[in-house]
Symmetry: C2
Subunit: 446 residues, 2 copies
Amino acid sequence: MKPSISKGTRDFLPDEVIRRQFIFDTLRDIFELFDFIPIETPAIENLQTLTGKYGEEGDRLLFKILNNGDFMSRVSDDVRMGGSSAELLPQISKRGLRYDLTVPLARYVVMHQNDLQFPFKRYQMQPVWRADRPQKGRYQEFYQCDVDIIGSDALMFEAELVAVYDQAFHRLQIPVEIKVNNRKILQGIADVIGAGEKFSQFTIVLDKLDKIGESGVAKQFDEMGLSSDQINLVFELIKENDIAKLEIALNKSETGIKGIEEIKKVKQYLRTQEFNNNIIFDWSLARGLNYYTGCIFEVVSPKVNIGSIGGGGRYDNLTEIFGMPNVSGVGISFGVARIYDVMTELNLFPDSLEQRTKILLMAMDEKSHQYAFECVVKLRHAGINSALYPTAAKLKKQMKYAHERNIPVVGIIGSNEMENQRISVKNMDSGEQNDHQMDDLIKLLS
Amino acid sequence: MKPSISKGTRDFLPDEVIRRQFIFDTLRDIFELFDFIPIETPAIENLQTLTGKYGEEGDRLLFKILNNGDFMSRVSDDVRMGGSSAELLPQISKRGLRYDLTVPLARYVVMHQNDLQFPFKRYQMQPVWRADRPQKGRYQEFYQCDVDIIGSDALMFEAELVAVYDQAFHRLQIPVEIKVNNRKILQGIADVIGAGEKFSQFTIVLDKLDKIGESGVAKQFDEMGLSSDQINLVFELIKENDIAKLEIALNKSETGIKGIEEIKKVKQYLRTQEFNNNIIFDWSLARGLNYYTGCIFEVVSPKVNIGSIGGGGRYDNLTEIFGMPNVSGVGISFGVARIYDVMTELNLFPDSLEQRTKILLMAMDEKSHQYAFECVVKLRHAGINSALYPTAAKLKKQMKYAHERNIPVVGIIGSNEMENQRISVKNMDSGEQNDHQMDDLIKLLS
């Protein structure tokens, strides 16, 4: 039987796991610095929880799990004979795989509201599954990493999340731009140009600015029925650097004014600290999702042309669908797969990551092997990650293994070394070779 | 809509995630000390990879994923009309959820054999899914944690794995007994009592010794057709402490002699080191799985009546089914859920785990809040996990939050403190309260 892997999924080699673990560990440290605490939810959710939450396409892309046992036994005869897949589905499947971390968070908050303290500041790093057509860089199983504050509308948290982004990417050594806007300002712009009723469509078009440029956006605004005066005014307003002037321009829109007030308050919090990266207020930033109701964020790395590596915003109704209305929240997510790609491209992973094992001991004959085993026990007792090649194979073969495993130091042990209680230690990088006693070697490798 | 969770699955509260993470981090450190490297495989595997590997019951307990799209369109008419669930299954589902970490490891090794160096020492900590009937302490989604060496029959690795168990449980502070046996010795015992042909059944019965005692085992041996002389000899042999005497007793069985030799060699490796826990050679240890062909291991915590918290052994044919014969391997696994329960029962988790956030700042009025925000920024810049309550709510409310969040220290900031550039710091445990300047506070909390 030829082994195969399900299309759209992938195995991770040790170096990849170690590098991704480095990203997770770094993010976890930062999240905890800012008082976020972790939760985990199951991979399997009731379809009732998931269906209808991600639009029609989302419903299609949900992985559904077949009911266990004799799943056809409860299918009614007419559905069995003539029913479509859609009609059969609810009778043979009641569970699906987690599609994102947001809907499970909402379910979690409602179900555990009596065990949680609000504001509830949680982070979550788990895989999600989507039956997207697999293509380069897009998988059906991938990690999401979300940070949210639930149950407070304090704008302090918007500033905190900007700082989380800044510190996290600084720690990962990825230079980024953190863009900030507020959906209420966008509503204000739509209002004052007289397109307030078409707000949703307006933001969807504006969101494409990066991809299709001003002329492309202008064309689509035109197709929406906006006049060239209206379109020109949009471009004027989204480029207005002076917030006082923008405030005057939006003063006919109640929502717009509210947005300006929120941004001012966030700026006030941001002013009290120094950032490692540029924080850019960008009134053209739209984020596709209607879901957001206040500040929105997006992170790009100007050094790499890969799109956004983070995004988020404030939402007002996360938990309403599960019967808990009026809970405001704000959150950001980290695009772990893209962060991984950026760090690979910019060569930002520490070399030491891949060299977990500090030394490989090699024995030259059977008798030395027993002694070498005693040596590796001692090294490990001293807390040094170390290995012993399992047999007294030819030195060349053992060397090849050390080389391919990327182990930085080897210790060669033959009858001579055994007699003198020393180890012949070779640096695989420099080729330098020296004899050491065990105590010296431990010091050298500590 | 009332939120619900799929039966047999569970959410993890922050304290639970943190404690489990502590177990994983500790195990990872030990695994890397012994030169093991991590891999990850996808949750979704082709059913072709999974089916038939876990016996009939396993096939039933596999979670199957419904094909995406119009899954009924390719079902033939006769199967649609009259087919059983079993006949319909292959036409509507081609993928399933990972059931254990062993079969995916075999697939992985075969598929990536050119990218791996052998001996390949890997660890893997990922969830698996089984459609078992949910009951107390048994879930449909749970973590497995496996450590294996693939591609070497060196008995040194048996000794290494015993040391991994010893160090891991020592680090977790769980006192354990590590039991060791060899399936070849069991075969030898079966041979010399004249039940060599019934070996599989023999081990299945012997495996129940802990549960049903000698009389229960004797009864089942009797039902197998063993005479009382044969049964008595079994009990005599499994209690033989002197390995030299056992060797003589088994000298008619070639396999038995091989088993004795292997155990002697392992003992020789074990003698060179000191262990924190008892290593017990127990000839009655059987492990249910026919899969094992050499040494077998089992770990129990004598302080807690919860069954084994680890087990493993040597197997000779892991990858054969995927077309790569004659690859010997040896591995152990850690029962993470039970380890969690044991540590909870014995109160072994460090208190500090749940106190990730070292201090919560509280502002007494709006103006102080802005100043308090500057303070929390400074604390975080100094690397201290810290929080600021988002509003100048009543002190009682903020105190309640700190208390329920288990935050050990609070810093109270009002107009007085702001004027004097000090923070009134209260230890939540002792109730002690002192004024501090920011620099002092940073030192205090570092």
